[in-house]
Symmetry: D2
Subunit: 109 residues, 4 copies
């Protein structure tokens, strides 16, 4: 397969994209949405960067490394914000983001 | 050009996707985010369906009509919700959604 | 979790999107690209519909079922075309598409 | 509006994404697809980076500049390849890519 060597990073990005989407959608249904607004913003950017990173690695694109580098930054920013909240979806999101950041940093190194 | 006959619909979908994104991002920065939560949900779905509709028409895909049909429904739902709010971004969004719904309905007919 | 009941379908769509992307990128690097042109077209549409279906289920969107219905059609069309080719990436893609079509049909029922 | 200052860059990215998609889809229908394979690869990456750049600027995201920087690189790579081909869709694509690269470079500066 074309992209075998990226496999764990592709999986981490692909999983993280969906966990971030779940977190954003869940935040929107919390009682205090205002408190989650920043979390939703970072979730959305992180989800979109993770999805693009997975896509470009899957295609074995020459832009994959550079996107993974950005993706790692978005993941760290999102993990930090999610880490401030007690909701289960935020905790799961922080965890997925940290794992994805590590995979992307290794991949982009 | 491959997709000349879809041109006005592609432009309406492409514009609507960005207006919905602007509305969602602006709603998230309102003082009363809770009141805008449903608007943000519908904006996001509408933005993603509009973007896919534009993409598939651009490619002259055989799935373009069916996606335009769904896109029109998402646009009408989003326009109805945005129409309940007074913010400029909601008014602009309602207008873009109605125009896009009409274009997509014509295209899918 | 918000979207627990869609979990197997989300996973099937998410996996299928990446398998279709792999197939398209691999087809582009085959010696006889011309023979794979139709496969690439269907792979791309299928990948984008799968990605949107996964996204909308993840958000528990009211448009999720309708998009899964379309996604199933795109998967069946892609599986049929991939089934005509001998390359490993085409065989893997046909299989992922059939599995995703079944999940989406069950979800949309 | 949230993102007024990015307006010309958003429009350039949004237009370029669709022109790249048109070019990729048109290349796939050329008689000699093999000759266009590299063009299709670069078109697709460029389209996806342009779409994400437009999205992040629309949201006024803190990741917008960094994505515009990558987008400019993808646009320059795509313009160079498209510039080697005589097809109208390639010429139009090279032009849209150069314009988008300039806008993104100015935005990211």
């Amino acid at each position: 397969m074309l992209n075998q060597r990226y496999q764990t990073c592709i999986e981490a990005c692909s999983a993280c994209a969906l966990v971030c989407e779940t977190c954003a959608a869940s935040c929107l249904r919390e009682t205090d949405v205002k408190m989650m607004a920043r979390c939703i913003e970072l979730d959305r950017d992180c989800a979109d960067l993770c999805a693009l990173a997975a896509l470009l690695m899957t295609r074995d694109s020459e832009h994959a490394k550079a996107v993974c580098r950005l993706c790692a930054q978005a993941c760290r920013a999102c993990a930090e914000e999610c880490g401030k909240h007690q909701a289960d979806h935020c905790k799961a999101c922080a965890q997925a983001c940290l794992r994805c950041a590590e995979e992307c940093e290794r991949m982009a190194a």
